[in-house]
Amino acid sequence: MELEKVLERFPKEQTYLIEILLDYQKSKPTQHLTENELKEVANYLDVPESHVFSVVSFYSFFSMEPRGKYIIQYCRDVPCHISDLINVKETLETLLDIKTGETTEDQLFTLEYSSCLGQCDGAPAIRINDKIYRNLTKNKLQMVLAEYRGDHHA
């Protein structure tokens, strides 16, 4: 989606800054924001560019580096950790052949960690873009990834 189209949907008020950035970033296959885009947003809301940069650097959802089409966030807090019999982090790193923070070569997946996803009753849990997967087993992880890979080739 073009940035303009996203901007049009919001009043020119600073309170919508995070909403705008979230919506726009989500619409991009690279899931990231560029310097020029931030300038355009700053312009639109009539706030200093430095302000928009400070917001982007504060919130963990925003990235200025290109990322994969699917962002996989695994949780590593206590409720997940103590129910995690497969080591979700390592399983994902092996299955994707990347380390946390990296993107697969085909630009399909980026692996990130997240603080508690609020799914502790279904621990261990991960989030892929806006979907949650709970009670993970190795099998389930493999199936989920295959699904996303298939979706990409289709």
């Binding site: 800054l17 919130y59 959802f61 590593r76 807090d77 206590v78 508690c116 009753d121 806006d130 949650i132």
Partner: protein
């Protein structure tokens, strides 16, 4: 019956996506009825109910409502805090996904009681489903004219907007949350002034937790006095408990205050896993104390929890069995805070980093007695000198462990010496 369903009574009975089903069970009736009550009577009901905030701190709700009502500056704002990021807590998500209209009804009641015209629900960005369900519910309420102008055909305007978080735990802290809604980085403000006098956009603002708002319709329904009879004298009503960890049944359970934790774990949670024993629990979430199994007869009660000097009142119980290493747990907890610190003040920004390093030594069995006293100092300094609740409660797990599991710390130091001796021989 151990469970007492006041605010979760609709769950499993109605389709959360349909306002009609909520209406069929007398939903929005209290909001409508309230317009025929005097504001004084409404406040009386809340005061006699002795309702305390469900977001963790347990502050009396009626005091904040009254302070807001007295402010003459307009506009006034109502904010529902749905940032729920404390590891181990998921009850607000449960409410939003399964009973969205009771939250909206509660916000309407609070708005009318305080004369606020605009509301926000600040939902953490990770809660995609909650965001969708709440958005849809708001739309339906607007169509019914329960939100918007002249709601319930009365001369009162009130509408609600959703704001999403973007992956920052500290934004659940009320001042950081205000900053975030204003489109800024979520760094806390120095208080006073408090939000009820100078909050969002500098205007009077009432901030309460999801569960707190969801409780307001029940109080009007059964009356403040009847509500105060449920629970304990210092903690009235029911509490949603987020039960997780090494138990058979994890989930959210609504129980009256005053129920022992052991009963919740065994009867609702089905007890520990086959062949396992409970070793400890963490109470409230990452910011709460780690306490040993023998203390499980303690009852759910704000005053009882106060001795831990943390906001353990959000109702999480994380059960850990005999397979778990306390130092591994403490390391994770500390890592969480180190990661989520906003960096505004030094004790929290640097302190958590150092504390994590010391904990790592205990985990790796390389700690000495010096490290033990170092850890004690680090925890105390972070607790006492941090600017906001995040830093102040970050060392709670460590402080409580040093108290209840001191033996484990000493044992680790001994282990190191033994291993060193062994290596020498």
């Amino acid at each position: 019956m151990l469970e007492k369903k006041l605010i979760t009574k609709h769950i499993g009975v109605i389709d959360p996506k349909s306002i009609f089903e909520y209406l069929r069970l007398d939903g929005y009736k209290q909001a409508e009825r309230m317009f025929d009550m005097s504001r004084m009577d409404i406040h009386d009901a809340f005061e006699t109910s002795k309702l305390r905030g469900r977001g963790g701190a347990g502050f009396p709700v009626s005091i904040k409502l009254m302070a807001m009502a007295k402010e003459s500056t307009q506009p006034k704002y109502i904010i529902c805090n749905a940032d729920e990021g404390e590891p181990g807590n998921f009850k607000d998500r449960y409410l939003m996904e399964n009973n969205p209209h009771i939250i909206i009804e509660g916000m309407i009641i609070a708005a009318y009681a305080t004369g606020a015209s605009k509301g926000y629900i600040y939902i953490r960005g990770e809660y995609d489903k909650s965001i969708d369900v709440m958005k849809e519910a708001l739309q339906q309420a607007r169509q019914k004219r329960f939100l918007g102008e002249n709601i319930f055909n009365k001369r009162f305007d009130f509408d609600i907007e959703i704001r999403r978080g973007a992956g920052s735990y500290v934004c659940g802290e009320e001042f950081a949350l205000l900053e975030s809604i204003e489109g800024k980085a979520g760094r806390t403000r120095v208080k006073p002034p408090f939000p009820t006098s100078k909050g969002l956009f500098g205007k009077p603002t009432l901030i309460n937790n999801v569960e707190t708002f969801a409780t307001l319709p029940t109080i009007l329904e059964i009356g403040g006095e009847a509500f105060a009879k449920i629970g304990t004298p210092s903690s009235t009503g029911t509490k949603l408990i987020s039960l997780s960890g090494n138990v058979k049944n994890k989930g959210v359970f609504e129980v009256p205050f005053g129920v022992p934790m052991r009963t919740i774990i065994n009867e609702l949670g089905g007890g520990p896993l086959e062949g396992r024993k409970i070793k400890m629990i963490q109470l409230g979430g990452a910011c709460g104390p780690v306490i040993p199994e023998y203390m499980l007869d303690m009852v759910i009660d704000f005053d009882r929890f106060e001795e831990f000097e943390s906001k353990t009142g959000a109702g999480a119980i994380i059960v850990m069995d005999d397979r778990q290493d306390i130092f591994d747990v403490l390391k994770r907890v500390s890592d969480f805070f180190q990661h989520e610190s906003c960096g505004k003040c030094t004790p929290c920004r640097e302190g958590n980093l150092h504390m994590l390093k010391t904990l790592h030594k205990f985990f790796e069995k390389t700690a000495t007695e010096k490290d033990l006293s170092l850890l004690e100092t680090q925890a105390r300094v972070i607790h006492q000198t941090s600017l906001c609740g995040l830093g102040q409660t970050a060392p709670t797990a460590v402080i409580s462990s040093l108290h209840y599991f001191r033996f484990s710390f000493l044992k680790r130091i001994e282990d190191r010496l033994e291993e060193a001796n062994y290596a020498e021989n």
